[in-house]
């Protein structure tokens, strides 16, 4: 009986194989296949429309940001890159990343990701001490501790809060109402912030804060100058293109 089953299976396997390889190959698929073969795919790609009541403003701000990047930020980052050695720039990035530890750890904790919180804490302790104020990343290199990016927008998303209308921020780029409002609680946890705290913060005034953030951004961009251009290259219509990429990316981050 077992043999028979096996035999039948092999036989059916063979027969489907012969069916699947027809002698004639039709290259020109009929355009009426819309309701046939394509149908299954359409369900998969039926994208939910992104809520976009501010599309007019968003479009204008996208153009502004694009030009600002092209004519101001990129040349500055290029000059900076030319002057400062890559290893130094990597260290600067590490330093800022290390400072954002409270944001990541808290949001990991709020989402019940205890192991990630533990890894983040380990990273902070090791990198702040052995890694000299976070300029180096021995936690990853020697202890195999990975960073876990989480922010309050992701925490809200985790608990089912929708993204709300899409909003393009000046210079900071694509965002949405949920993520925009989430910047406030995250700022309260950020040691870079200039507001009065009972503990040390990197900046004391608004202008110092702006300077520090600009430096951080320029440094970050200098490490991968081509990134934006590579993404932009496939855009037919920049605004909806970037909007969709942002919303899809955030959805993925929240799911993780």
């Amino acid at each position: 009986m077992i043999l028979m089953f096996t035999f039948l299976f092999t036989l059916s396997g063979c027969s489907t194989n012969t069916i699947e390889q027809p002698k004639e190959v039709t290259l020109n698929q009929d355009r009426d296949d819309f309701n046939g073969e394509l149908e299954g795919f359409f369900d998969e790609f039926e994208v939910e429309e992104i809520y976009d009541p501010f599309s007019g403003y968003n479009r204008a701000m996208t153009t502004f940001n694009d030009k600002a990047y092209e004519y101001v930020i990129k040349p500055v980052a290029k000059g900076y890159k030319y002057v400062i050695h890559e290893e130094v720039r990597e260290s600067v990035r590490n330093f800022f990343n290390n400072l954002y530890f409270p944001i990541r750890a808290t949001n990991n904790l709020l989402q019940g990701k205890f192991y990630n919180t533990y890894e983040e804490t380990g990273r902070f302790i090791i990198n702040t001490t052995v890694g000299i104020l976070g300029f180096f990343d021995p936690a990853k290199v020697h202890f195999n501790l990975e960073a876990h990016e989480e922010d309050f927008g992701q925490t809200l998303g985790f608990y089912g809060v929708g993204s709300g209308p899409h909003i393009v921020l000046p210079l900071l780029g694509p965002s949405n109402l949920r993520d925009l409002l989430s910047m406030y609680p995250d700022a309260l946890l950020s040691p870079i912030d200039y507001t009065e705290r009972s503990y040390w913060t990197l900046t004391d005034t608004w202008s110092e804060y702006l300077g520090a953030r600009t430096f951080e951004e320029v440094n970050y961009i200098s490490l991968d100058m081509e990134k934006y251009d590579e993404i932009k290259q496939d855009a037919i219509d920049l605004y909806p293109y970037l909007r969709d990429i942002y919303e899809q990316y955030r959805k993925k981050q929240i799911e993780e």
Binding site: M4, F34, F45, E230, P240, Y241, Q248
Partner: protein, 200 residues
């Protein structure tokens, strides 16, 4: 009673066998994918080729893996149905050219990166998703290659074809659908084709 047990046993064997067939299919696909990556890596590392030659070879090597025509159709969504035959053919041609061009440009930015297959999903018998990590010195990028198995296999194509690529959650096809749809709200398909032509 004994025959009952025999039947159960036979059923188990049958189920196991069917499962191993599915598993084989997945492993074959994974091996084929890794082989291609190796092939492309060799071309990239071949310093004797000029950049154009190199890119042409890469595109040639990768073309049998992709269902560009299907991607072109899906990218337009319902607007596809309204195209004349002539425009439909032209659109597919332009879309395919743009994809190849975009891929070549991305290869130019390639630097000592490794591809690791993390997991394989098969949500339907004729769909397989290959979840991979592109590992560089700095970071890991999750890239998902989505395959489908057409009912009829074309002579110059693989049995399983890629119809979408998701890079850290961003689907190439979904993004194109969204921007084409928005574009067509205010402009015509001819304008869209002009814009596509400019990109490649």
């Amino acid at each position: 009673m004994i025959s009952f047990y025999k039947k159960i046993l036979a059923l188990c064997v049958a189920v196991l066998f069917a499962q191993s067939l599915v598993a084989d299919e997945q492993i074959d696909l994974k091996n084929r994918f890794l082989e291609k990556i190796k092939e492309v890596t060799l071309i990239v590392e071949n310093k004797e080729l000029s950049k154009d030659e190199r890119n042409r070879n890469i595109v040639k090597s990768l073309t049998p893996m992709f269902d560009f025509e299907l991607m072109a159709k899906l990218s337009l969504g319902t607007a596809w149905r309204e195209l004349s035959q002539e425009n439909a053919d032209k659109f597919v041609e332009l879309y395919v050219e743009r994809m190849k061009h975009s891929y070549s440009a991305k290869i130019d930015a390639y630097e000592d990166e490794k591809v690791e297959v993390k997991s394989i999903d098969q949500p339907q018998p004729n769909r397989i998703a290959l979840v991979t990590d592109l590992v560089s010195k700095e970071e890991k990028l999750e890239i998902v290659y989505k395959y489908h198995k057409p009912k009829t296999k074309a002579a110059d194509k693989d049995e399983w074809l890629i119809y979408d690529v998701e890079i850290i959650g961003v689907s190439i096809l979904k993004t194109d659908r969204a921007q084409f749809k928005e574009f067509l709200r205010t402009k015509s398909i001819v304008d869209l084709m002009d814009a596509l032509a400019k990109q490649s």
